[in-house]
């Protein structure tokens, strides 16, 4: 109780610092909670949609986004285990109606669908609804939900425009569905139309996305699944509707690179602020600790005092953070939804993030834990305060030669251990243990290094200002504990900035390289408004038409889509590999470029992206088994390359192979290279004129595609740059905090300096120089540790976060930029205390207590 009074009194005296510290923890927890909640919200909205559409479906047959030929339906319907089987195509189409965004259009076969789904109508032309043949006879029929109808002022007979493969067409509302069941899906932005009409709308040919199956009475799910698998072969996924949530989760997880880094970083910032504030508090409260120790408090009492302060600070911050996180989640959910749509083409209709108590409590728990862990080192230092020295005013706790030796020894062992772990162990546990050991080694070495560097700086400072320079260095040397606490804090924060900035830089560089080597056609012809969207397709013949346009030198046809690979959707890219090999020159990560392209073009192998290989531990020569409607396609990996089309990984195969195994000759992107001297704008116009009539067609210039990709990247990096800015801000805050304390601590010594005849400007300059010296030492150590941290951060990105192996490039420009920022901050931090030190009379500074 009494000890709590001590904590409270100290807290009240340093309100601003504690407010900032607690805000740091709150920020960490808020980001953590918001990210998770938003993720959940997006996922549950997806699941609501799936369930709403599923109806009485027990099993679904699908083969990824590519779909399969119509005749599969007959094979399914022929099975004795199957009671009803209904084909489905789902597509999110841009309505073009103001404020309505995407409309999820579900294509069903009206003749049989009622055995799977119930349709209850508010109103409609009974004849049409009761007689599906009439509905079929009018392919412009569409049914919408009451919600959608009300929002848009639609009634039966109203007409709405929809983009189709043949350009914009008008559809007539022939029925309005009652709320409930199907209407709940996609936040009510849902329409139903005939599946064959939808095939035509999307240009997909006679294919279905999915078959929804209800089993005969008495047939178990397992029996049904077995029968279907036997009948269809290994090229199909047969799962209950709930499994789709899992696939979506997998896509969502691929987005988690950003999510994980952001959360991790936010928590780290909180931890750093706690560490910093407690280091400062322990230095400031040394006398108090000394008194408690003299009165008989043992070490654990002192440690407990600081750790419980940390726990309370953590708890307050965590509770505030959890609440703020919940509010933030509402915004993040829509952001994630939008990102999923732009980057993955999975359209979402997210409505807010509900509070999840387990998550909120868990987040708060993480906050408390992080705060206690961060306070551990300062609390231990507090427990080790020597009471005799703490009570002798003006005397600092020096480190004995023995202590330096022990620390150096510990640092050596830790660094050695880290090196050993790096070479020996492959498992993540070893890797992260090594990471922790390296940081510990750096912390243990800090006093010795700081002392060495201070000595090294002495000639420089003494040359600048003989008296003040010497005094400044002496002050650093006399109080090694204080100095090394400040330096360590600075070092850690700079290491964080460098690691973070370095990873961002590398990813960006590597992205630029990819765009430059791979996305180099002059024009992209596609039926979709955006390059990453794959809703509409065009027939391959369009390629030949485009090639005939004057000014076009070469076209390359590409069909890409997500297909399930071991339950996770990956991007399958089918292209003319032989042609591609001549225009795309990217550095392979593994494999010989000539050989990999030759074998892939021949249909004997596949080239996979690095993320595909790394995240699954695959190498060149390993065989990939890809389910296709015709069976299991087994291909050895001929090469591994860098590719950022998809975070879960990309597989490149030849289009000829695709045609035979998927029975599909459609294309979603035509890469166009121009003849020398041809003007991109003119060719674009010519293509639209000659090929675009009666077709939905977009011709994107290389510039537009690049801009689109970099806009996506910038959305991602926007967050990253914010994080770097926060990291720098935190570093500066740390410098200001610790320096202020360190100088305030020295008021008495400085008073002494004045008393023995030092001039005020001299004292002031001494303080400035001390601050600059600390800033410089912290910078040197921070950049050095940052170089190591960058290595670990890149490894972490490669192993666990994104499967990207990035080149190690020290962010030199960032480092160069940090030097003036940190030195400037150190100088600013010194101004106030320096003025205070010379303001009062020397006698005042000399007084005790």
């Amino acid at each position: 109780m009494l000890l709590a009074r001590l904590s409270w009194a100290y807290l009240k005296k340093h309100r601003l610092r504690w407010a900032l510290t607690i805000a740091g923890v709150a920020l960490g927890v808020a980001v953590l909670v918001a990210m998770r909640l938003a993720n959940q919200a997006v996922l549950s909205s997806f699941q609501r949609t799936v369930q709403g559409i599923a109806g009485r479906t027990q099993l679904q047959v699908h083969a990824g986004d590519l779909g399969f030929p119509e005749e599969v339906l007959e094979r399914v319907q022929a099975l004795p285990e199957v009671a009803a089987a209904a084909p489905v195509i789902e597509a999110a189409l841009d309505t073009g109606l103001p404020g309505q965004g995407y409309l999820l259009v579900v294509g069903v076969d009206m003749t049989g669908d009622r055995s799977i789904r119930d349709y209850e109508f508010d109103s409609g032309e009974e004849a049409i609804l009761d007689d599906p043949l009439v509905f079929l006879a009018q392919p412009d029929s569409i049914i919408v939900t009451r919600e959608f109808a009300e929002r848009n002022g639609l009634g039966v007979g109203s007409r709405i425009p929809l983009g189709t493969a043949q350009g914009t067409r008008w559809f007539t509302v022939r029925g309005i569905m009652r709320p409930g069941g199907l209407s709940q899906a996609f936040g009510g932005n849902l329409a139903v139309m005939d599946v064959y009409a939808l095939q035509y709308v999307l240009g997909r040919g006679r294919r279905f996305d999915r078959i929804d199956v209800a089993l005969r009475e008495g047939i178990s799910l397992e029996q049904g699944e077995r029968a279907l698998r036997q009948a269809l072969g290994p090229g199909f996924e047969i799962e209950p509707p709930s499994a789709r949530g899992r696939h979506f989760e997998a896509i969502l997880r691929s987005f988690s690179l950003t999510l994980n880094i952001t959360s991790l970083f936010a928590v780290l910032v909180g931890m750093f602020l706690i560490y910093n504030s407690f280091s400062v508090a322990v230095t400031q409260r040394r006398a108090e600790i000394g008194i408690l120790r003299a009165l008989g408090a043992d070490r654990s009492t002192i440690r407990r005092l600081f750790l419980s302060e940390a726990a309370v600070a953590g708890l307050v911050g965590a509770l505030a953070g959890a609440a703020a996180g919940w509010l933030m989640a509402q915004w993040v959910a829509s952001y994630v939804g939008r990102l999923m749509q732009e980057a993955y083409g999975v359209v979402q209709n997210v409505e807010g993030a509900p509070a999840d108590w387990r998550l909120l409590v868990g987040g708060a728990g993480v906050g408390v834990l992080a705060s206690v862990v961060a306070a551990w080192i300062p609390a231990r230092a507090a427990a080790r305060v020597d009471p005799v020295l703490a009570l002798q005013k003006g005397r600092h706790q020096v480190l004995s030669a023995g202590e330096y030796r022990v620390r150096r020894w510990l640092a050596g062992v830790a660094a050695g251990g880290a090196a050993l772990l790096l070479t020996a162990g492959r498992s993540p546990a070893w890797f992260y243990a090594g990471y922790v050991l390296i940081v510990l080694a750096a912390l243990w070495l800090t006093p010795a290094l700081a002392r060495g560097l201070a000595r090294g700086l002495r000639p420089l400072l003494a040359w600048l200002r003989p008296v003040e320079g010497g005094l400044a260095v002496d002050s650093l040397l006399q109080a090694p504990r204080r100095t090394s606490a400040t330096v360590a804090a600075l070092m850690l924060s700079l290491a964080m900035v460098v690691g973070f900035g370095g990873v961002a830089r590398s990813i960006y560089d590597s992205l630029v390289e990819w765009v430059e080597t791979t996305l180099n056609p002059d024009l992209f012809v596609t039926p979709n408004a955006e390059i990453a969207n794959r809703t509409y397709v065009v027939p391959a013949e369009l390629g030949a038409e485009v090639e005939r346009v004057p000014g076009v030198r070469q076209v390359q046809l590409v069909r890409s889509a997500r297909v399930p690979y071991q339950g996770v959707p990956v991007l399958l890219v089918a292209a003319d590999v032989a042609k591609l090999a001549r225009t795309v020159r990217r550095r392979p990560i593994e494999g010989d470029p000539e050989d990999m392209h030759r074998r892939t073009a021949a249909g004997e192998a596949t080239i996979v992206s690095e993320s595909f290989a790394r995240l699954r531990g695959l190498r060149v020569g390993d065989v990939v088994e890809l389910p296709a409607p015709k069976g299991l396609l087994r291909l050895p990996i001929a090469g591994i390359v860098r590719d950022y089309s998809d975070q879960q990984g990309t597989l490149l195969i030849d289009r000829a192979l695709y045609r035979t195994w998927w029975d599909d000759d459609t294309v979603n992107v035509i890469r166009v290279y121009l003849a020398p001297g041809a003007s991109a704008a003119e060719v674009k116009r010519a293509i639209l004129e000659q090929c675009g009539r009666g077709r939905r067609l977009f011709v994107l210039a290389n510039e537009e595609v690049r801009r689109y990709i970099f806009r996506l990247a910038d959305q991602w990096f926007g967050m990253t740059y914010n994080q770097i800015a926060v990291a720098i801000l935190v570093a500066v805050l740390g410098v200001v905090n610790t320096l202020t304390v360190s100088i305030t601590d020295r008021r008495r010594e400085l008073g002494l300096l004045l008393a023995v005849g030092g001039l005020r400007p001299q004292v002031r300059r001494t303080i400035w120089m001390e601050a600059l010296a600390i800033g410089l030492i912290g910078l040197l150590l921070g950049l050095a540790l940052g170089a190591v941290n960058l290595y670990y951060s890149l490894e972490m990105t490669r192993r666990d976060l994104a499967g990207l192996s990035l080149d190690y490039v020290f962010p030199a420009s960032l480092a160069a930029w940090l030097i003036p920022v940190i030195l400037g901050a150190a100088f600013l931090a010194a101004l106030g205390p320096a003025a205070a030190a010379v303001r009062g009379s020397p006698a005042e500074a000399l007084e005790y207590e």
Binding site: M1, L2, L3, R5, L6, A9, Y10, K13, A287, E288, G290, I291, L292, R293, A294, L295, G296, A297, D298, R299, S300, T301, P387, V388, L391, K393, V398, S400, A401, Y848, E849
Partner: protein
């Protein structure tokens, strides 16, 4: 009660070795009052810190009620301080954010007393040192002499058998110093505590039954030993 045998204390000041005590042997009986005098830097404070278990000797044995402090670990020493020792310092070392009562109650709190009984006892002790009126004041609102009284009350709070005072009057004017000494003498007779007082003040020394003189870390005079 207290027994020192061939106690050495060597400080390492960077590379330099400072020998603060060179082979000090001393024995103090229960209830004795001993003044420790000597020039500055002779090792008086060091001696007191060793007896009080704030520090460990480099060599030799220090027996407090039969236990050798040199052999105890850090937490055991803390326990000894808590149970056996009361400290009074030249610079008072009160906690500035706690009131007088709370300062005095602190050692009791560390011994696990309830807040109510610790504060009741603290009030008693403050009355005993003549500060019954100043219970809820903060140290900064008190004069130097009053602060030292609070410190004495705190040192006696847990009723320790040994009271160690390092220049308790060093930071006070002569008159206030004399008052503090009277108080200490008075408490000594009432409570029977064993007392060691480090002092520069000849008057203080004269008031004690026994005077030990240190020079360069060695005992060069002890009034209880008649003649050299």
């Amino acid at each position: 009660m207290i027994e020192l045998r061939q106690v050495w204390k060597v400080f390492l000041n960077g590379r330099r070795e400072v020998v603060a005590l060179r082979g000090v042997s001393l024995s103090v009986r229960r209830g004795e009052t001993v003044a420790v005098v000597g020039p500055s830097g002779s090792g008086k404070s060091t001696l007191l810190n060793l007896i009080g278990g704030l520090d460990r000797p480099s060599r030799g044995r220090i027996l407090l009620e039969g236990r050798n402090l040199a052999e105890l670990d850090d937490d055991e020493l803390a326990l000894v301080r808590r149970e056996k020792i009361g400290f009074v310092f030249q610079f008072f070392h009160l906690l500035p954010t706690l009131t007088c009562v709370e300062n005095v109650a602190l050692p009791l709190h560390l011994r696990g007393w309830s807040r109510r009984s610790a504060e009741a006892r603290a009030r008693e002790l403050l009355a005993l040192v003549g500060l019954g009126e100043r219970l809820d004041h903060l140290p900064e609102e008190l004069s130097g002499g009053e602060r030292q009284r609070v410190a004495i009350a705190r040192a006696l709070a847990a009723n320790p058998p040994v009271l160690l005072a390092d220049e308790p009057t060093g930071n006070l004017d002569t008159r206030t110093g004399a008052e503090i000494l009277t108080l200490l003498a008075d408490l000594h007779t009432r409570l029977g505590t064993t007392m060691l007082i480090v002092t520069h003040d000849a008057q203080v020394a004269r008031a004690c039954a026994r005077v030990v003189t240190l020079r360069d870390g060695q005992i060069v005079g002890d009034s209880s030993i008649q003649g050299p």
